[in-house]
């Protein structure tokens, strides 16, 4: 996959989440982007059960199990600041078997769903982040498909982001970090989504009404 930047779009003043998403998508369509179906990224959180904690004597770790519709046969499992495992969908079956050791915090399942747009070499995905029934924010993912090295195309990506996000353009994602010359991969995108979901989870509930 190409270098990708995942960021959050704050909800416009006096508008709902859905209206802000519509403003964004209209801007993209005016730019000339073509709608190409939908996408979804979801994330479930697991924490080590109390029984395993006792024997190890360490603080419980949070494990995130994520899926991305761009890779329908894969499942991503990651720890914060830890390794990201890419596995096939049987990993979910394994998590069911492991339920004695890893408990899923059901209420914390978070996902983003929305439309996928293609604009020349860019793939833009604008989604509504929901936790349960309520909409909590907006995620914007932009991928520059031809390039896999972050340092080579970050300035181009930034310019493109500015053209439709304006003042809400994000800075360089933390995953680019020190390894500017490393090959970018899907695991890096999932790490960005995990960080975005965690940020949104900590935020106050969006004051405007959610999607009805």
């Amino acid at each position: 996959m190409g270098v990708t930047c995942v960021s959050q779009m704050p909800v416009a003043e006096g508008k709902s989440v859905q209206q802000t998403v519509e403003i964004l998508t209209r801007k993209l369509e005016m730019l000339g982007a073509e709608k190409q179906g939908t996408f979804s990224v979801d994330c479930e959180t697991y924490h080590t059960a109390a029984s395993t904690l006792g024997s190890q004597g360490q603080a419980g770790k949070l494990m995130y199990v994520m899926h991305n519709s761009e890779y329908p046969l894969s499942c991503f499992a990651l720890f914060e600041n830890g390794p990201c495992l890419i596995a096939d969908t049987n990993f979910d079956v394994l998590m069911v078997k492991l339920k004695g050791f890893f408990q899923s915090a059901k209420a914390s399942k978070i996902e983003t769903r929305g439309t996928r747009y293609q604009y020349c070499d860019f793939l833009v995905k604008v989604g509504t982040v929901t936790m349960g029934p309520s909409a909590r924010g907006i995620s914007v993912e932009v991928e520059y498909c031809p390039c896999v090295v972050a340092s080579d195309c970050w300035s181009l990506l930034l310019e493109f982001l500015q053209s439709f996000l304006g003042s809400h353009t994000p800075g360089a994602p933390a995953v680019f970090g020190n390894r500017h010359d490393a090959v970018y991969g899907p695991a890096d995108t999932m790490v960005q989504y995990m960080e975005l979901f965690n940020k949104i989870r900590k935020q106050q509930q969006v004051p405007v009404a959610g999607i009805r």
Partner: protein, 268 residues
């Protein structure tokens, strides 16, 4: 991991797996009890029969076995049906020759795998076991993670050992990830041998090597003077006719090797 594609290693089959290295220890002891000639699994066979009878007398009735619940929570429960036996080194060639004749026509396939067994200890009495396997001769193959459940004790007439099995292909950082989850490596070994296929049945003939220096797969020594032979099928739960087909195939391999249902618990 390729976009949207899950690598399968050997033609979509689950990578050959040794479920219980303890079995190999048992095998070795049986061989050294003076087994000569071509047929070599008889000593195992006789003692298995006696211990299986004792074991069945003491079995405790539990919740319905997984075989009665083919689909749970949207995912199909896959079961592994297994028959095992062994041949001494000098009988290997005749066995391979017969297998080449009986099995599907394909290029003779050999493999060299490194398997690590990880345990997660919780408050439950028995730790959770996961097997991580990587190919040492095929660069770029995904790692293979395998979970095997307890053998189903349902039908005594069933010809093969049946247990729930979950196979997952993963990226290369599997061991780091398992350690992060809390798993600790219990033991590791190298398996080297031949792979055959007949329809959905997989026949593996391989030798187990003990790793002398942990983590160094170059210094190994053979665990026994024999090769382990396994006939296995991975099929959705509830398809017991599979074990009949397996028994019929195993009949054709006699007297070169006697493939039998060997209960791993007997060896503990």
């Amino acid at each position: 991991m390729q976009k949207g594609v899950c690598g399968g290693g050997r033609a979509g089959l689950a990578l050959p797996g040794l479920e219980n290295p303890e079995l190999a220890e048992g095998g070795r002891d049986s061989e050294s009890r003076g087994c000569t000639g071509v047929s070599c699994a008889y000593p195992i066979g006789r003692s298995v029969f006696i211990s299986v009878v004792f074991h069945l007398i003491t079995v405790v009735m539990e919740a319905p076995p997984v075989t009665m619940m083919p689909v749970t929570g949207g995912a199909i429960n896959m079961m592994e049906y297994l028959l095992q036996g062994s041949v001494l080194d000098h009988s290997l060639e005749s066995l391979i020759h017969r297998l080449r004749g009986l099995c599907d026509n394909m290029e003779p396939e050999t493999f060299l795998d490194h398997e690590m067994v990880f345990l997660l200890k919780g408050q439950q009495a028995s730790p959770f076991v996961l097997r991580a396997r990587r190919s040492m001769d095929r660069a770029g193959s995904p790692w293979h993670l395998r979970y095997l459940g307890q053998p189903e004790m349902g039908d005594k007439n069933r010809h093969a050992l049946v247990r729930n099995c979950v196979d997952i292909a993963t990226s290369e950082n599997l061991t780091d990830f398992l350690m992060e989850m809390g798993f600790r490596m219990d033991h590791e070994f190298v398996a080297k041998g031949h792979l055959f296929r007949k329809g959905i049945m997989k026949i593996v003939v391989y030798k187990i090597f003990r790793i002398l220096v942990p983590g160094n797969t170059d210094s190994t020594e053979a665990l026994s003077l024999s090769y382990l032979v396994e006939l296995s099928v991975v099929a959705p739960a509830g398809q017991d006719m599979v074990s009949d087909d397996m028994r019929n195939f195993a009949e054709q391999l006699k007297p070169l090797v006697h493939l039998e249902k060997i209960d791993p618990k007997r060896l503990m």
